[in-house]
């Protein structure tokens, strides 16, 4: 492995999204954004919903959208295990907008008998998708 590079793997239940080297990876953990480079102390943390940035060889940042999951950091290797992760250009903005409306309707309407937490999570997912998908 090249000097000062860290291997990054992003794995979801249905596919392996990314498996390559990177200079630095910035991700949104549940306790704030963290950036990880080669030689990091072993760390395990949970991830929030958000954008993950991969910096490599001074090129433009590669972005991925990650919805929850957790990450295992070892000095040479980062493994991200997420329920769902996708590239911004794969996002179906129209579908995300429909999901947003659905979630908003649910939250604004009669709150009895619905899973509020689930609806809120769905709304957050939709908002991130719309934000990133439009870019």
């Amino acid at each position: 492995m090249a000097e000062n590079k860290i291997r990054l793997r992003i794995v979801t239940p249905v596919r392996e999204l990314y498996n390559d080297e990177a200079d630095m990876v910035i991700m949104r953990s549940t306790s704030g954004d963290i950036g990880i480079m080669h030689g990091h102390q072993p760390l395990t943390t949970t991830l929030g919903y958000g954008v993950l940035k991969i910096m490599k060889d001074g090129e433009d940042d590669v972005k991925a959208v990650v919805f929850g999951g957790y990450v295992d950091v070892q000095p040479e290797c980062i493994t991200i295990l997420s329920d769902a992760a996708e590239w911004p250009d794969e996002i179906d903005v129209k579908r995300a907008e429909e999901a947003k409306e659905r979630a908003e309707r649910r939250l604004n309407g009669n709150r009895e008998g619905i899973d509020i937490l689930r609806a809120e999570l769905a709304l957050r997912r939709a908002l991130i998708r719309i934000d990133e998908g439009k870019r």
């Binding site: 794995v11 239940p13 249905v14 596919r15 392996e16 072993p42 395990t44 949970t46 295992d72 295990l81």
Partner: protein, 286 residues
Amino acid sequence: MASMRDIKRRIKSVKSTQQITKAMYLVASSKLTRAKSRLADTRPFFNETRKVIANIVKGAKGISHPYIEQRDVNNIGLIVLTGDRGLCGGYNQNVMKAGLNAIKDRPEAKVITVGSKGREFFGRQKKNIINSYTGISEKPTYEDALKIGREVLELYAKGEVDEVYLAYTQFVSTLVSEPKVIKILPVDVEEFKNESSVDSNSLMMFEPSEEEVLEYVIPKYVNTVIFGALVESAVCELGARMTAMDSASENAQEMIEKLDLMYNRARQGAITQEITEIVGGSGIYN
């Protein structure tokens, strides 16, 4: 001997059955190819999850969490993964029997079935079915696994069950599959100890805290196990159906050949008889 017309009718009906089994064979084999590639796609996630848990178990000293602690067993839960449809050889029977065997000492065991075959079977056995899922066996999604996982974790957390088992079919090869029963809760951390590649002296950090990470990761692991088993079972079901339909087509072919022979014999007999009658009627021998 059956009349020629009867035999002809039999041949026709066997032939049309053979056409159906042949078509089902083709459908199953093309679905199997797709299911196999899905299985290959889910493997990395499963393996990585195990590795991460192994790292946590090794890195964290003296962890304790309800999900990994053994407790006195008053009742158990069982998840059985079967298919929605038959015509797949012994696939459903085998896994249901394995499941039934696992709860034979506990008539009160709470059963969750996946697939209508399992629901019917455990219903007939008068078992305590608390929920059943149908329509997902052939093409399980991760969301399906999440639903099942949430349900068993809730049962476990409430103390309604103290152990949860999962009966599924393990894929060995297209021709060979094995029914299996594994314990998914409480999670046995000991078996992970040897899987970690991490130096046990290195200091491991947990954000926000060890407990919170475990609280998050272990349910995820249970879901992953359920998802992996669902996908694997789907592959086995299709494999079993393919094999069953292949041998059914072969049997039909054999039957047709036998009937053809019978038909020809009957035809020859009829001709011989006719000649005998004509010769007899002409009276040359008199």
